[in-house]
């Protein structure tokens, strides 16, 4: 540095002497740091998104197949004297014939169909019947009970293929695995292929997956998410209706109105502590308070919703308080200065500015609530439930139901490998559900975002 001029008062080793087009060493160093910092940021996001892509790909690749389902067309003769021994077409009487009574009908129909189609097979009737789901006899029985006058006729019935056959057409089951598999033989797979060639077997969109109730371990092909979706929906209604208003109200009180004292500190610490309580403990609480003390029913979405509300509250409160805190005091001053009350100041100015943070808290809180299984375990919602709950206004909140994460958890525990696909499918549905639920929040948040 040429020090031509006499050191002027206050002229220290000045920065930025020299050409602006050339960066000096220090600036180069600082800019390098700047670039590094930026790259860290970008890398961080990339790591996050990469993980997401990875996880989503594995979920999708495992689960998308559950949206398709293989069915078999069989014309079944509804033999009148087997299904209605009394012969009076009284549904109550006909109901005495259990599903076990329907099994032979279906079996005969299958064997007949195969013979008619000219397919050669060495399988005996029992093995042939195994390629359709156990669910089909129940389907058939319900159909007959609903239409007693069709007795004696031959009806084309579309029945579900068994899980292994379904898996064969989705690539999960192969001839090689069938060799080893006790529940399916290569011969059965060949038969299925022949049926497909005849056009009797087809794989189509699995609408039932979204509407049907759960099915037992032996019928993975029939298991659906209907009850779980309803249950989750009900619970989320409760959570949204309670957690968001209570959470925001509590935060407003604590951040804007509460006097600064030991007691508020206690509440504050207390809330962050609640966030750290393992979710199953909320289940213990729910069982003790809502079921045993308040006498609410077991397995009911209302209780689940209440428990999840308590569990989500801390998240929403912490996020909301942080957002409220971030609103500059000058805005409050401005409103108070024109004679707005504190309440008006908060609701007209502070809250809208804190909205993005509140919505983020809500998104994260709901995501957490929607995905929780553990607290539901103790209040009876981790269950096998086949009856749909009623509509909410008919007391459906008090009917037994499950939830999507519960269904995922249950599916993953079942021994039949076909449930792996169902579990991933359920995860996809859960994520869709979550996305739909949060869409409004995400859009709103974009609108509320501003800098000042």
């Amino acid at each position: 540095m040429t020090d031509a001029t006499a050191p002027a008062p206050g002229a220290r080793s000045r920065v930025g002497q020299g050409s602006l087009l050339r960066q000096d060493t220090r600036t180069i160093k600082r800019n390098a740091a700047e670039n590094r910092f930026r790259i860290y940021g970008l890398t961080a996001i990339c790591i996050g998104i990469l993980m997401l892509v990875f996880l989503l790909t594995s979920i999708l690749s495992n689960g998308l197949s559950s949206f398709r389902q293989t069915t078999i067309q069989v014309p079944v003769t509804l033999v009148a004297d087997r299904l209605d021994p009394e012969g009076n077409r009284d549904p109550a009487e006909m109901a005495r014939v259990t599903t076990f009574g329907y099994a032979p009908l279906l079996r005969d129909a299958l064997v007949g169909t195969i013979a008619d189609a000219g397919i050669e097979t060495e399988l005996d009737a029992g093995d042939i019947a195994d390629i359709v789901s156990d669910e089909s006899v129940a389907q058939l029985r319900n159909f007959v009970l609903a239409n007693p006058d069709l007795l004696g006729q031959t009806m084309p019935v579309e029945v579900l293929a068994s899980g292994r056959i379904d898996g064969f057409f989705k690539g999960r089951v192969t001839y090689a695995t069938a060799e080893l598999d006790q529940n399916i033989s290569p011969e059965q797979l060949r038969l299925a292929e022949a049926l497909k060639a005849e056009g009797l077997l087809a794989t189509g969109f699995n609408f039932d997956f979204f509407t049907a109730p759960d099915a037992s371990v032996t019928r993975p092909e029939a298991a659906g998410l209907g009850v779980a979706i309803l249950g989750s929906l009900y619970m989320m209604l409760v959570v949204l209706a309670l957690a968001l208003p209570i959470g925001v109200a509590a935060s407003i009180y604590l951040e804007e109105f509460a006097p600064q004292n030991r007691f508020t500190d206690l509440v504050e610490v207390n809330i962050s502590n609640l966030a750290a309580v393992p979710s199953i403990v909320f289940g213990i609480l729910g069982l003790a308070v809502f079921i045993n003390f308040a006498g609410l029913p077991q397995s009911a979405p209302i209780v689940g919703g209440l428990v999840l509300t308590l569990m989500t509250l801390p998240t929403i409160i912490i996020a909301t308080r942080a957002a409220l805190k971030a609103v500059p005091p000058s805005i409050r001053d401005a409103a108070l200065g024109v004679g707005a009350s504190k309440m008006q100041t908060v609701f007209h100015h502070v809250l809208p500015l804190a909205m993005p943070g509140i919505l983020t808290g809500t998104i994260i809180g709901l995501a957490q609530a929607l995905g929780e299984t553990a607290p539901l375990l103790l209040i009876g919602m981790v269950a096998f439930v086949r009856e749909y709950p009623d509509a909410p206004w008919e007391g459906g909140l008090f009917d037994p139901a499950t939830a999507l994460p519960v269904q995922i958890y249950n599916f993953t525990q079942r021994s039949d490998p076909a449930f792996v696909e169902r579990a991933s499918g359920a995860i996809i549905v859960l994520l869709l559900f979550l996305f739909l639920m949060n869409l409004a929040a995400i859009l709103l948040r974009r609108r509320f975002e501003r800098r000042w």
């Binding site: 109901a95 037992s216 079921i291 009876g380 919602m381 096998f384 079942r414 021994s415 039949d416 490998p417």
Partner: protein, 322 residues
């Protein structure tokens, strides 16, 4: 008012209970019972919470109810309990289909592999074995890695009693312990101790977790329920125990040694109050369902040879506490 039967308890019984509940709902005028999982302990705890509408009607359990629990039940007014044994659950050892051949085990092999202190050359020592072939030349020379049920599982008890303890005695370790001055009880406890150096991995979850762990570890041997194995024969290779292959028949006949009974408990006070309770219980133990050719046996439940007496118990609502 509640109009469906409410069941909770062991996740081992859950699959069977769900099969029955489903069929019950399909064939009877009653709503399908709600069957919860959550473990025998939690199920019985809630079962014993009292009588009334918002308590359980039935608790599933993979072990018999304990005396302490019966007391607790009684303290809460649940003093009319009907015990129903629905059959037996076989416990099998299996490994990756494509992995090394663990096809024949004796209890002593498992004790030698997993016991905390074993007998080597007549000496009781901290388990030094790292490979199966270290103590049995017929077994493959691969690292020992066993996935056994965690200490919160009912299966663990069976595994300890019928495999480890049997192995302990068979290898002579038990005798050696007695000889070293332990009391019988102490020796028994010492027998049951499983090594804690990471070779034996406790599984607190379910069999799907065990399966996943075996999937990612070709040398792993895992403990499964018979029904789970039967649904996954394409990926699992089962081991014989004392030369007997596990199947519903060999277990029912007692040839295959490792199995345990499964139960459910009915709250007597609820019979006649909760619609369909008695019907469900009777349906469960009927020959059509729980018999050797019923759907439960198809799925892997070892049918109870004394099913008739169980049916009678249900029919007569025999209170076990009396």
């Amino acid at each position: 008012a509640r109009d469906q039967v409410q069941v909770a308890g062991s996740s081992t019984v859950l699959p069977y209970a769900s099969i029955v509940a489903e069929a019950f709902g399909e064939n009877f005028g009653f709503p399908t019972p709600v069957v919860e999982s959550g473990g025998s302990s939690a199920g019985l705890r809630r079962f014993c919470e009292g009588v009334g509408e918002n308590t359980l009607d039935i608790a599933n359990a993979s072990r018999a109810i304990r005396a302490g629990e019966i007391e607790e039940c009684a303290a809460n007014g649940v003093d009319d309990i009907i015990e129903v044994r629905i059959g037996y659950d076989g416990i099998v050892f299996a490994s990756q289909q494509t992995g090394p051949a663990f096809t024949a085990f004796e209890p002593s092999d498992l004790f030698n592999a997993l016991g905390a202190r074993v007998l080597v050359d007549g000496e009781l020592v901290e388990n030094p074995h790292t490979q199966w072939s270290d103590f049995n030349g017929d077994l493959p020379a691969v690292d020992i890695a066993a996935f056994i049920p965690g200490t919160n599982h009912g299966t663990r008890e069976v595994f300890e009693e019928q495999v480890i303890a049997a192995g302990c005695e068979a290898t002579g370790a038990f005798q050696a312990m007695i000889d070293s001055g332990m009391s019988e009880d102490e020796a028994e406890d010492a027998c049951l101790a499983v090594r804690s150096d990471g070779v034996a991995v406790d599984i607190t979850g379910d069999y799907t977790e065990t399966l996943a762990r075996i999937d990612s570890n070709p040398n792993g041997v895992g403990v499964f329920g018979l029904s789970f194995y039967e649904n996954n024969t394409d990926v699992l290779k089962v081991a014989t125990m004392s030369g007997v292959a596990p199947s519903t028949e060999t277990i029912a006949s007692g040839e295959y040694p490792v199995s345990r009974p499964l139960f459910f408990y009915i709250k007597g006070a609820h019979i006649g109050v909760i619609p369909g309770l008695k019907e469900y219980a009777s349906f469960f133990v009927s020959d059509d369902i729980a018999g050797p050719n019923g759907p439960l046996a198809d799925y892997g439940l070892v049918s109870d040879p004394e099913l008739a007496s169980v049916q009678e118990t249900v029919e007569n609502e025999v209170d076990m506490t009396e």
